[in-house]
C-alpha cells in the first residue's frame, strides 16, 4: 500500500508518535467534550479574519469603510459577516463549555485556577465582542457605546471613560475602540494558552497510558480536531451567508443581522430601538430596573461576576455530583434562568423602565423553583445514593453500520467537491453571500466525511 507507507513516512519523519499529546478513549469522540475546541477554532477564525479586516478598516471613516468592505472588497461581505458570527459562535461555545464544566463539577479538580481563568476568558470574550460590534459606527454601535459609558459612570468609574472611549471626537473614539479590540484579543489569546494545556486533566486527552481503550494521539485526535475545526468554520461561514442572501436579509431581525445596521443619519435609524448586541441584552434590561443605575449595575455585573469567580473557593472537594452540592447547583440554575429571562425581556422591551412588581415577578420565581426543585431532588438522591455505588456511563452505542458510514463519507465528500466547484462560478463581490453558502456547505460536508472516515477506520 503506497499510501500507508506514505503516512508511516510522515509519522516517522515528524516523530508524530512521540509528541507529548496524549491519547483519548473512544467515548471522548463526542462533540460534548469539545466545546472548548470549538471556541479555540472560532478564535483562530477570528484572528485570521480580524487581521485581514485590519487592512481595510479606517477609524477616520468607520461606517463607510465598513460598508465598503461589504460592497467593494472581493469576498469582503463574507469576511465581515463571518467575523461577526465567529464571535457569536465563540460566545455560545463558551457558554456551553462553561455549563458543561459546571455540570460535571470539574472545577473542583483543578483547584479553581482553571475555572477562574475560564470566567475571565468569558468576560473578556464578551468585552472584545462588544468593542468589535461598536467599531462599525452604525446606530446600534452608537447606542452600545452610550450604554457602556452609562454603566461605567454608574459604577463610579467615570475616569475610565476617556481611557476606553477617547477624548470625545469620533476619530479618537474609533481609533481607541480599534486599539482596545486588538489589545483585548491579544490578552484572550495569551490566557487561552494558559487555559489550554492544563485541560489535559480532562479533555481532549487522558494521561493513563496503560488503559487499552486509549489510542495514540496520532492520527485519531488530529482527524477529530480537524473535523471539529472545519465544522465550526463551516457554521461560521454558512449561517451569516444565508442571512445575507438579499431575499432573506430584509427579514432578519436587527439583533442578528449579518451586516451593520443603518448609519446614524439614516431616517431608518430613528425606528430602531436602542439595542445592545444580543449577548448583552440581559445587562441592558438590568439597567432598566427600578433601583437606580448604580445598584442595577452592581446587581447585573459585579455580584454575578464575584459569585462566578469564588465558586471554586466556596465549593471544594467532595463528590462532583450535582445533588451533592445542592446550593451551588440551584444558584447556577437560577442564574442561567435569569440570563435567559432578562435577555428575552430586553429584546421585547428595550429600555423600558421596570416597575418593582414586575421585577419581583421575574426575579423571584426562578429562585424558588431552582432551590425547591434541587433540594427536593436531593432528598430522593440521598436515599438511593448508597445503593448505587457509582454511575457507570457508557458511550452511546452507535447503531450506524460501517458500510453506511462509508456511503455517507462518499456522498459528503462529493457534496464538498460540488459545492466548492460551484463557488468558482460566483463573483466574489456581487455574489458574496452565495460564495459564503457554498464554502460553508463544503467545509461542513468535509468535516462530516472526516467524521465518517474516523468512525469507519478507528472506532
Amino acid at each position: 500500500m503506497g499510501e500507508c507507507s506514505f503516512w508511516d513516512w510522515i509519522t516517522d519523519t515528524l516523530h508524530l508518535r512521540d509528541l507529548p499529546f496524549m491519547g483519548a478513549p473512544s467515548l471522548m469522540f463526542n462533540v460534548r467534550y469539545w466545546f472548548g475546541t470549538i471556541a479555540v477554532a472560532a478564535l483562530a477564525w477570528q484572528v485570521l479574519t480580524g487581521l485581514i479586516l485590519l487592512l481595510y478598516y479606517q477609524p477616520s471613516n468607520a461606517y463607510d469603510s465598513t460598508m465598503a468592505i461589504i460592497h467593494n472588497v472581493p469576498f469582503g461581505s463574507i469576511l465581515l459577516s463571518s467575523h461577526l458570527y465567529g464571535a457569536y459562535v465563540m460566545i455560545l461555545a463558551a457558554y456551553v463549555h462553561g455549563i458543561d464544566v459546571f455540570l460535571r463539577g470539574t472545577y473542583k479538580k483543578s483547584g479553581g485556577a482553571q475555572w477562574v481563568l475560564g470566567v475571565l476568558l468569558f468576560v473578556l470574550t464578551l468585552g472584545v465582542s462588544f468593542i468589535g460590534y461598536s467599531l462599525t459606527g452604525d446606530v446600534l454601535a452608537t447606542d452600545a457605546v452610550d450604554v457602556g459609558k452609562g454603566v461605567l459612570t454608574a459604577l463610579g468609574l467615570q475616569s475610565l471613560i476617556p481611557v476606553f472611549f477617547g477624548n470625545g471626537t469620533q476619530l479618537d473614539l474609533f481609533t481607541r475602540l480599534l486599539g482596545w479590540h486588538i489589545i483585548v484579543a491579544a490578552v484572550i489569546i495569551l490566557l487561552f494558552m494558559l487555559h489550554y494545556p492544563r485541560v489535559g486533566y480532562r479533555v481532549p486527552a487522558i494521561s493513563r497510558n496503560n488503559d487499552l481503550t486509549i489510542k495514540p494521539w496520532w492520527p485519531r485526535n488530529l482527524i477529530f480536531t480537524l473535523a471539529v475545526t472545519l465544522l465550526t468554520w463551516g457554521v461560521i461561514l454558512l449561517v451569516p451567508s444565508i442571512l445575507a442572501v438579499p431575499q432573506v436579509l430584509g427579514k432578519v431581525p436587527i439583533l442578528f443581522s449579518p451586516y451593520p445596521g443603518p448609519s446614524l443619519t439614516s431616517p431608518q435609524a430613528s425606528s430602531i430601538p436602542a439595542y445592545p448586541p444580543w449577548f448583552f441584552l440581559f445587562l441592558y434590561k438590568m439597567v432598566d430596573m427600578p433601583f437606580g443605575l448604580t445598584v442595577n449595575a452592581v446587581m447585573g455585573i459585579v455580584i454575578p461576576l464575584v459569585v462566578l469567580l469564588i465558586i471554586p473557593a466556596l465549593d471544594r472537594g467532595g463528590s462532583p455530583h450535582l445533588l451533592d452540592r445542592p446550593w451551588v447547583t440551584a444558584l447556577f440554575i437560577t442564574g442561567l434562568i435569569w440570563v435567559i429571562e432578562l435577555s428575552v425581556w430586553g429584546a421585547v422591551q428595550p429600555g423600558i423602565p421596570v416597575k418593582p412588581t414586575w421585577f419581583a415577578v421575574v426575579i423571584i420565581p426562578p429562585v424558588l423553583v431552582s432551590f425547591g426543585g434541587v433540594y427536593a431532588a436531593r432528598r430522593r438522591w440521598i436515599k438511593v445514593k448508597g445503593r448505587i455505588a457509582r454511575f457507570t456511563t457508557r458511550g452511546v452505542k452507535f447503531s450506524l453500520s460501517k458500510n453506511t458510514a462509508v456511503a455517507l463519507g462518499y456522498s459528503t465528500s462529493m457534496i464538498a467537491i460540488v459545492a466548492i466547484t460551484t463557488s468558482f462560478a460566483l463573483n466574489p463581490i456581487s455574489d458574496g453571500p452565495y460564495v459564503g453558502v457554498m464554502w460553508g456547505i463544503a467545509l461542513i460536508s468535509l468535516a462530516a466525511s472526516l467524521m465518517a472516515y474516523l468512525y469507519v477506520e478507528y472506532l
Binding site: Y56, V73, F75, L249, V406, S423, P428, W439, L450
Partner: protein, 253 residues
C-alpha cells in the same frame, strides 16, 4: 477491528475521496486570498449600479417622497462623488414630469442632451451634490422645494438647487442648467434607469461637465460632456453592483 468488516478497497477509496475533497476545498478557499487585493482606485467605464438602502434592499422608485423633506444622497461613480436623488413635484406635492432638454454651458456655449426624469411619473432625477463653482457640497448646496424661497441674484426663488457658499443657482427641473452665477457650468446629471417591473432604479452613467475636482472639470468639451470620463478618476468606486442611498435632513426646512 479497524474497518469493522468494510473491505480494504472501499476504505482506501473513501480515504482517496476525502483527500481529493480536502484538497479541492483548500484550493477553492485559497481563492479567498483575493480579499487581500484592494479595490482599484478609479474605474475604466461607468458602472451600472442598483440604488439600495443601507441594509442592501433596493430603493423603490415609487416610494421616494416627492419634494422630500429629506435629501437622498448616493455616491456615483466614485465614493467621493455624492449625488442628490430628487423626486420633483409641484406646489401640491404632485410629481412633475421632467422632460428631456438641451442644456447649454454658459462658460463656452457647448451643449448636451439631458435625458429627462425617470420613474412612474418621469419625475425622478439625480444631480451631483458638489457645486460646480468652487466645490461646496451638500448641505451648503441643497434643493429648495416649491414654497421654500431663497434670495438669489434673480430675486426670491424656489424649485431650485442653490449653493449658500457664493449663491450659484441651478434648475433641477431643466437638467441642472445654470440659473444664476457665479458658476459658469451646470450641475452634472446622473443618467438613471427605471425598471418598471421591479420599480428599482439604476445609475448608469453621468452626463454634462466633469464633476467638480475631477480631471478636466474646468474645461468641458463637446466630447467630454457626452461621456465625462474624468468622473471615473480620483477615488475608489462607489460600489460594484450597488450604491447606497442615505437620507439626510434638508437644512433649510
Amino acid at each position: 477491528m479497524a474497518g469493522g468488516g468494510v473491505d480494504e478497497g472501499r476504505r482506501n477509496f473513501l480515504k482517496a475521496m476525502i483527500i481529493v475533497a480536502g484538497l479541492s476545498v483548500f484550493v477553492g478557499m485559497l481563492r479567498g486570498l483575493e480579499v487581500l487585493v484592494p479595490p482599484k482606485v478609479g474605474l475604466e467605464e461607468f458602472p451600472r449600479l442598483l440604488l439600495v438602502d443601507e441594509r442592501g434592499n433596493p430603493i423603490k422608485a415609487s416610494s421616494i417622497p416627492v419634494n422630500g423633506r429629506q435629501i437622498a444622497l448616493f455616491p456615483y461613480p466614485l465614493n467621493n462623488e455624492p449625488n442628490m436623488l430628487l423626486n420633483l413635484g409641484d406646489e401640491n406635492g404632485k410629481p412633475v414630469e421632467v422632460p428631456p432638454i438641451t442644456v447649454v454651458i454658459p462658460q463656452n456655449g457647448v451643449s448636451y442632451e439631458f435625458p429627462g426624469g425617470v420613474g412612474p411619473s418621469r419625475s425622478i432625477v439625480a444631480y451631483s451634490a458638489i457645486c460646480q463653482h468652487l466645490g461646496c457640497t451638500f448641505p451648503e448646496l441643497t434643493f429648495y422645494p416649491p414654497g421654500v424661497k431663497v434670495m438669489t441674484a434673480n430675486g426670491p426663488m424656489d424649485k431650485i438647487i442653490y449653493c449658500r457658499c457664493h449663491g450659484s443657482t441651478f434648475d433641477p427641473y431643466r437638467g441642472g442648467a445654470v440659473v444664476t452665477g457665479p458658476t459658469v457650468r451646470p450641475l452634472p446629471a446622473v443618467v438613471l434607469e427605471w425598471d418598471p417591473s421591479t420599480d428599482e432604479l439604476y445609475a448608469v452613467k453621468m452626463i454634462g461637465p466633469v464633476i467638480y475636482g475631477h480631471p478636466g472639470f474646468s474645461n468641458p468639451t463637446l466630447d467630454t460632456v457626452k461621456n465625462p470620463t474624468g468622473d471615473l478618476q480620483g477615488g475608489s468606486p462607489a460600489g460594484v453592483a450597488t450604491t447606497v442611498v442615505k437620507y439626510y435632513s434638508n437644512p433649510i426646512l
